[in-house]
Symmetry: C2
Subunit: 370 residues, 2 copies
């Protein structure tokens, strides 16, 4: 049992051993390394603060690694958690559910956007079947960890059982551990699941205490009537389950998706290993709220890759105190926005590692000069 | 003589043969390739429009190349135009003027931020001495094209003669041509010059018709008293010269910098060769206004790499109809923000080249399904 659990309702609902152990391993940034990194940034041959947000990222990477400069996160892996959603039956999206499995096939064949971007930014892609509602053939890029073949319809019953949530979270933890032991120095979240912006909006509404209408968006591009349906569906589900944000496993069970539960574990695993993890869009932001609810310090490992057009994304990131790196009106998912942020994160680390100081380069420092 | 010149005052002030020839070669996007690229984007296995601004960039790259998909701009060169400014004498910055030459030395030694970022994004860096107020030793990365050893003080006299502007613009054109003949498939603007945000603000004020107080910023980080001085200096220079935005060579002569003139030619050269050119910050944005004034269609080749914290940057980009890709509170220059945008531009091209269509991947298309 961790301290975080004891005063909360969660205390009566023990986490599994694997999750509790991981949560206990999560801690915040190393303050000495943070301080050293800030000082080093200020000694480099550039006006102080002139690299803006990249300076903050470099300091975070140092504090996470506990060393300044931090390691260069050259080897990166994008983990695309794929799952289906029972709430699809409520007409929240015009895309048929079988597109989830079809897109997984597209990822494995190398034909999707995430494959193209991953090739550009030199990252590995793995797909985790954590809940696709179809049988998937074996493939070297596919990690077969199906917990169940899609969630149940959250408007009728809990999306999944607490035991299934725990299994999916444990899967996410073990995926993070495996990818890091395979050599990944940086992880990126990805997701695929038709209707998963509906579950994301429900999770964000619960954890941030925001009205569903304010956190629900058009996802991959729905019309106003479907958007109205989507908000109404979320309202009904929340009214049915009355999820308690102090019980994150219960929230995931009521209105989450299997990929949200898997990503929650993935984020906790990355944080426990002190490996930076770049969040993609609104699905990752929803999972990040779950991870934060289980272990607040897990945010120390998180970097917001991009600002999705989904309104819930920004509300969730604000709640977590994260600023998105890429802001290009993306709303694709798959990990695309997170992957696009990789060169920015690597550049931030590289500046702290490679740039000369005023002293070493023989450049006059304004601050000394004045 | 091009059409653009005939009705303008510029008609009485002929450009050099080299500049006029380049201006005549500049034309807008190929509308057939633009249309093909839009259709192709809509056929790819992703929701239509879900890649936001990257879709627009991919379409621009196609229209510029006159082919869809466009070439992948793997080989990129960052051209850092370095020069000094006579207006430095007016106390517009706390940095001593010799920092320009010292930072050029830092670039050549590989110790600056632009070197670190260029290494990360796999780009070549060249430095062009177009007007540094110091003797610089030969170096393989340095192109020696000094037009004069810094400009004159714009508050007392013209910053440079028209002949010097023309020589600097021609230099920029020839640098673009040389880098492209060396293999560059994409160019990035860079700059180094203590006090060059003052000249940039003056140019932006003239070309956009904006009050100097609204386009002048803190540059590398000046205090409020220095900012007030900077605005007043620009007001005095504009009152003295009364520059005519219809005569861009005259504007550059009155209040520009040698790097602005060089970058103007560089942008025109890239546009004439139909090679994409990524703008860095406010110095590039000011030069882009000059290039636009000489050849409006040159904007077709330009991609705004980032949104600088300098207020003039955003005003200039709006005037040109460009949206910045990276928005991370950067205010360094050197080409840093432009270089950081390279992976985004390459990803945009790669998506159009490599992603499967709904038909080829066997994925159900929502638009067909409905």
């Amino acid at each position: 049992m961790t301290e975080a659990q004891s005063p909360e309702p969660e205390a009566q609902r023990p986490l599994s051993e694997a999750i509790a152990t991981t949560v206990a391993e999560v801690s915040g940034l190393d303050t000495d390394a943070v301080s050293t990194a800030r000082q080093r940034q200020d000694s480099l041959t550039k006006p102080r603060g002139s690299l803006g947000v990249l300076e903050d990222i470099s300091v975070q990477l140092s504090g996470l690694a506990g060393s300044c400069p931090p390691p260069l996160p050259d080897k990166a892996t994008i983990a695309v958690f794929a799952a289906d959603h029972g709430v699809h039956a409520q007409g929240v999206t015009p895309w048929p559910q079988e597109v989830t499995a079809q897109m997984v096939g597209n990822f494995l064949a190398g034909g999707a956007v995430i494959n193209a971007i991953a090739a550009e930014v030199n990252a590995r892609v793995v797909i985790i079947d954590i809940g696709v509602a179809a049988e998937l053939d074996d493939h070297p890029m596919l990690l077969a960890h199906k917990v169940r073949a899609g969630t149940a319809d959250m408007t009728e019953t809990a999306a999944m059982s607490r035991a299934e949530v725990i299994q999916a979270v444990e899967t996410g933890i073990s995926v993070a551990r495996r990818l890091v032991s395979d050599g990944a120095q940086c992880l990126v979240t990805g997701d695929m699941g038709i209707a998963n912006t509906t579950a994301s909006a429900a999770l964000i509404a619960v954890f941030t205490g925001t009205d569903p209408a304010l956190v629900t968006g058009r996802g991959t591009g729905i019309d106003t009537a479907t958007l109205d349906t989507k908000v109404e569906v979320i309202r009904r589900a929340l009214a049915l389950h009355q999820p308690d944000p102090g019980d994150p496993i219960g929230v995931l069970s009521a209105v989450g998706g299997l990929e949200h539960a898997g990503l929650t574990g993935f984020l906790l695993g990355a944080a426990a290993l002190r490996i930076p993890v770049i969040l993609d869009g609104v699905i990752a932001a929803a999972a990040a709220l779950c991870a934060h609810a289980l272990a607040a310090d897990s945010v120390a490992a998180m970097i917001a890759g991009h600002r999705s057009t989904e309104p819930g994304s920004q509300i969730a990131l604000q709640h977590l105190g994260l600023r998105a790196l890429v802001d290009l009106d993306l709303r694709l998912g798959e990990g695309s926005g997170g992957a696009l942020a990789l060169p920015l994160v690597r550049s931030a680390a590289r500046v702290l590692r490679e740039v000369a100081s005023f002293d070493s380069a023989g450049v006059v420092d304004k601050e000394q000069h004045q």
